[in-house]
């Protein structure tokens, strides 16, 4: 009905013949001239609208994350203190990296700052939930980290959105729009990380500690470095020192320091170091795919990697890496079936490497790198 009347109106309008035609022509011309002059501005508006939608979603994720942290802490704390103010303060916490103008000794300074930040976060958790055990404290600290990351992502995207809008700078908006899909993927990964940390489920990054846990299962372990345990296992007549972060709380431990101490203890008499870690998969690769490499497969700021490289070079110990491919969305979310299924394949490869490159009686170090949440030993 409406369409019919609109069509009739248009017909009547058109029947006024050439004058209408002329007006329409002029309007078209005006439109094209305006589009030529303001086309980029229009494009900017469209892009801003798209960014606006993503920003709104980021805000929802950030707020929901904060809400989950507050509710979890309230639930776990037996005292009636409202943690909201403290959590809001923690979520605004800023980490200032060490100065790199004079790179000498930067690793020590970096490690110190990371340790201080880590202790501070755990202290804050203990102040809010004094009755929490070690695993719960670690999980809550991990939750706070994820919520903090969500807050930072939202604020940075909002900054560039407002800056681009304020200055109508096409290039700022274009760059922001280009990286937004990746940013959204990362934010959603942190959102699912919060759910995993809340319930203490193992995450994709925990594949290294999971393999180490399988190897050391049933043997006696001891703490070699802070939050890092080691166990002596026998594989095909070789003495294997398997190490991982101390679980089942969310923890990455200090694998670099642990390997350094082990090597110093053995005065370098170690025939091979095998490092197992999750690695970023490329598009097209399958999650859970296992690949091998040479070098120290330890992510993060580089402190642990540096320590292992330094001590391995000092004693000329060969380094092997076994990597399990994962997408960015799998690393911090609950471990996918395909990733969990790669354990047997990795163990098979470890045995092959040991068999091919070492002889009976040799000492070997195997390190399972990653967050050990939901994985004991």
């Amino acid at each position: 009905m409406i369409i019919q009347s609109l069509f009739d109106a248009l017909q009547g309008f058109a029947s006024q013949n050439n004058i209408v035609g002329l007006i329409v022509q002029i309007l078209w011309l005006a439109f094209f001239v305006l589009y030529m002059l303001y086309g980029q501005r229009l494009q900017v508006k469209i892009m801003l609208k798209e960014i606006e939608g993503s920003l709104f979603r980021l805000k929802l994720i950030r707020d929901r994350g904060r809400e989950i942290v507050i509710n979890t802490i309230k639930k776990m704390s037996k005292e009636n203190n409202d943690p909201t103010e403290r959590i809001d303060r923690i979520l605004e916490h800023i980490y200032i990296p060490p100065v790199s103008l004079d790179p000498s000794g930067i690793i020590k300074r970096l490690e110190h700052l990371i340790d201080v930040r880590d202790f501070r976060l755990k202290d804050e958790v203990k102040l809010m939930v004094p009755n929490a055990d070690e695993a719960q404290t670690n999980n809550l600290a991990n939750m706070l980290e994820a919520a903090l990351a969500l807050n930072q992502i939202y604020k940075v995207v909002r900054h560039f959105y407002l800056l681009g809008k304020k200055t109508s700078n096409f290039y700022i908006i274009l760059q922001l729009q280009m990286i937004l899909p990746q940013v959204m993927k990362e934010s959603q990964a942190f959102a699912s990380a919060l759910t995993a940390f809340k319930t203490g489920q193992p995450i994709g990054d925990g594949i290294g500690p999971l393999i180490a846990a399988r190897l050391m299962h049933g043997t006696k372990e001891y703490e070699i470095a802070k939050d890092t345990i080691v166990s002596e296992v026998s594989i095909d007549g070789r003495i294997v020192y398997v190490l991982k972060a101390k679980g089942p709380g969310g923890n990455v431990g200090k694998p670099g320091e642990a390997i350094r101490q082990l090597l110093e203890e053995k005065e370098g008499r170690v025939s091979r170091i095998i490092v197992i870690d999750a690695a970023q998969k490329l598009e097209g690769e399958k999650p859970g795919e296992v690949v091998e490499g040479t070098g120290v497969a330890i992510g993060g700021p580089g402190v642990d990697k540096y320590k292992v490289e330094e001590v391995a070079t000092k004693y000329k110990v060969p380094l092997n890496a076994i990597l399990i491919k994962e997408g960015i969305e799998d690393v911090v979310s609950t471990m996918k079936k395909e990733i969990a299924n790669s354990v047997e394949e990795v163990i098979k490869r470890i045995k092959r490497i040991i068999h091919e490159t070492t002889k009976e009686g040799d000492q070997i170090i195997i390190a399972g790198i990653g967050n050990t949440i939901g994985i004991a030993q």
């Binding site: 609109l6 069509f7 248009l10 017909q11 058109a14 209408v20 329409v24 309007l27 078209w28 439109f31 229009l42 508006k45 469209i46 609208k49 798209e50 606006e52 939608g53 920003l55 709104f56 979603r57 805000k59 929802l60 994720i61 929901r64 994350g65 989950i68 809001d88 979520l91 605004e92 807050n151 909002r158 407002l162 934010s187 959603q188 990964a189 942190f190 959102a191 699912s192 759910t195 319930t199 203490g200 489920q201 193992p202 999971l210 846990a213 679980g247 089942p248 097209g284 979310s333 609950t334 471990m335 996918k336 079936k337 395909e338 990733i339 969990a340 939901g374 994985i375 004991a376 030993q377």
Partner: protein, 139 residues
Amino acid sequence: MKSSSGKIRRSSFYLISITAVLIILSLVTITQTLKTYKDTGYIDFLALTLSASAIAFSVYMVLQMRESPLKLGFEQPKVSTVIRCSKCGFETTREFKEGDYILKESEPCPQCKGPTFIYIIFRETEEKRKKKKESSSPI
């Protein structure tokens, strides 16, 4: 934490106005072209092409403005816990319960009464969607 995104909504009115103007102009042009064709038998292909392009552009703008469904990532996935007997290797799978962790001791084995432990905890992946994606990819 205060909300500071008050300035965020405005551009949609601007975009909707442009789209509306474009659609009206295109409709008038098409009607004019039809009328000219009826009166003189002449088809103005240029005007028709312009109108069709304008309508296509408007549709594109509307699609760009369309909101996609909100999925934040907090949705609880289906997580399973596999329990294995250390003696006979018997395995059972159940839904994940809070407090579960890998290598945690569990109830005695229903088959041999031996000690059991949580062997693995994993998230189920959406098989249907994955299969569809895989089959559509030529590489």
